[in-house]
């Protein structure tokens, strides 16, 4: 049975995607007995909704990538259990939402589909990730810039791309993630969007994204391959990426398609530390 969420929709009235958030929230309210937070009222009166959000897991529904509801959740210091961005879901479903300010049958069917998917997610008990007890034995080099320390693993089987993502190759598999440079720049990571297990990812293709109150970072996969595991712990504890982006904060595990070919476009520790050193000097990391 689905959890009794408290739902924070953006409720945007100037875009169809915003209207979809409202209708989806109402459907969840009717079917799941979920409570709804009105974002407008929340701006002027906090007490009621703060109490609700403390008692139940929070589901945030944003209409568009402006992510007004997510930003409100951050502003109110709420812990988000799950989030949906309707515009992204529409792209996944290959649906073009209409430009008007009324939802049509197309959007109603889309809302039904989103509701069914949420039901399935809630009913699915995910198996534990494979290879959970992996021993990395990473040896780190550090770069210091004012109060910031950037660690970089210098083991030979760790590869980097110039988009600040790493891959640790172990046989025909690799774990991938973001480097310290990314997590330091993003600051507190609040959301984690994993790829799906089974996804086929090209080299430099998107393999999930992470988000802080400052920015969204798209993970650029160092290797091509099939996603065989994701780090489930990040769904509820994305801050593990801040804590240790190389070990606790790994994002996904790939079964590699063309490791030798892909390595031609990757760099090792020596070159990556040079690039990072330059970025750290150039960037005003505050």
């Amino acid at each position: 049975m689905a959890e009794k969420y408290v739902i924070l929709p953006c409720n945007g009235l100037d875009k169809c995607a915003g209207l979809v958030t409202r209708e989806l929230a109402l459907k969840l309210h009717e079917r799941w007995d979920s409570e709804i937070i009105c974002p407008v009222f929340y701006r002027v009166s906090e007490a009621k909704y703060n109490k609700l959000a403390a008692e139940r897991p929070l589901l945030v529904i944003d209409g568009c990538p402006t992510r007004c509801a997510s930003k409100l959740a951050v502003e109110k210091n709420l812990k988000v259990a799950r989030r949906i961005i309707v515009a992204d879901e529409a792209k996944k479903h290959r649906i073009g939402l209409n430009d008007g300010l009324r939802i049509t049958d197309l959007e109603r069917r889309f809302i039904d589909d989103l509701f069914e998917e949420l039901n399935k997610i809630e009913e699915t008990v995910r198996p534990a990730s494979e290879n959970e007890a992996v021993s990395y034995n990473f040896d780190y080099e550090t770069i210091q810039n004012r109060k910031f320390i950037f660690r970089i693993p210098k083991n030979g089987e760790v590869f980097f791309n110039e988009n600040d993502c790493w891959a640790w190759v172990n046989g025909n598999r690799a774990r991938i993630g973001v480097t310290d440079y990314v997590q330091q720049n993003l600051s507190d990571i609040l959301y984690f969007y994993p790829p799906e297990v089974g996804d086929e990812i090209d080299q430099f293709g998107e393999s999930g994204s992470i988000e802080s109150s400052k920015a969204v970072f798209e993970l650029v996969s160092p290797f091509s391959g099939k996603v065989v595991a994701i780090n489930d712990k990040l769904a509820t504890n994305p801050e593990l990426i801040n804590e240790n982006p190389y070990e606790l904060g790994w994002i996904a595990e790939l079964e590699l398609t063309d490791p030798e070919g892909d390595k031609e476009l990757l760099i090792g520790f020596e070159r990556y530390i040079e690039i990072t050193q330059k970025k750290v000097e150039d960037a005003d990391v505050k």
């Binding site: 568009c64 990538p65 402006t66 080299q203 920015a215 970072f217 798209e218 476009l265 150039d282």
Partner: protein
């Protein structure tokens, strides 16, 4: 300041930059505020108030500005085609010593 090469290839040989769909852009300027590489420029006195001023400052394969664009007005080249082009340029460089 941006790197002048990417994967060993001169950055100005790689076609990777955002394209603004002016029929969708609402000039919220979130992209300008977001991008630390000064790819965009605001032109308050012009009819078109936002342009891609420094395309070669754009980090190859980064699409972060488009992820924060509410009206979905920013698009990027195909990643696979860009990767293939980078490979071709690297081969050309190798063959020329």
């Amino acid at each position: 300041m941006s790197e002048t090469t990417f994967m060993g290839v001169e950055r100005n040989l790689i076609d990777w930059k955002p394209t603004i769909d002016y029929s969708k852009c609402n000039y919220c300027m979130d992209c300008v505020e977001f991008c630390p590489h000064k790819v965009f420029e605001v032109r308050d006195n012009d009819e078109i108030r936002l342009i891609v001023k420094n395309p070669h400052n754009c980090v190859v394969f980064c699409r972060a500005c488009s992820k924060t664009c509410g009206p979905d007005a920013l698009s990027f080249p195909d990643k696979n085609a860009t990767t293939q082009r980078i490979k071709e340029i690297r081969k050309e460089m190798e063959s020329h010593g």
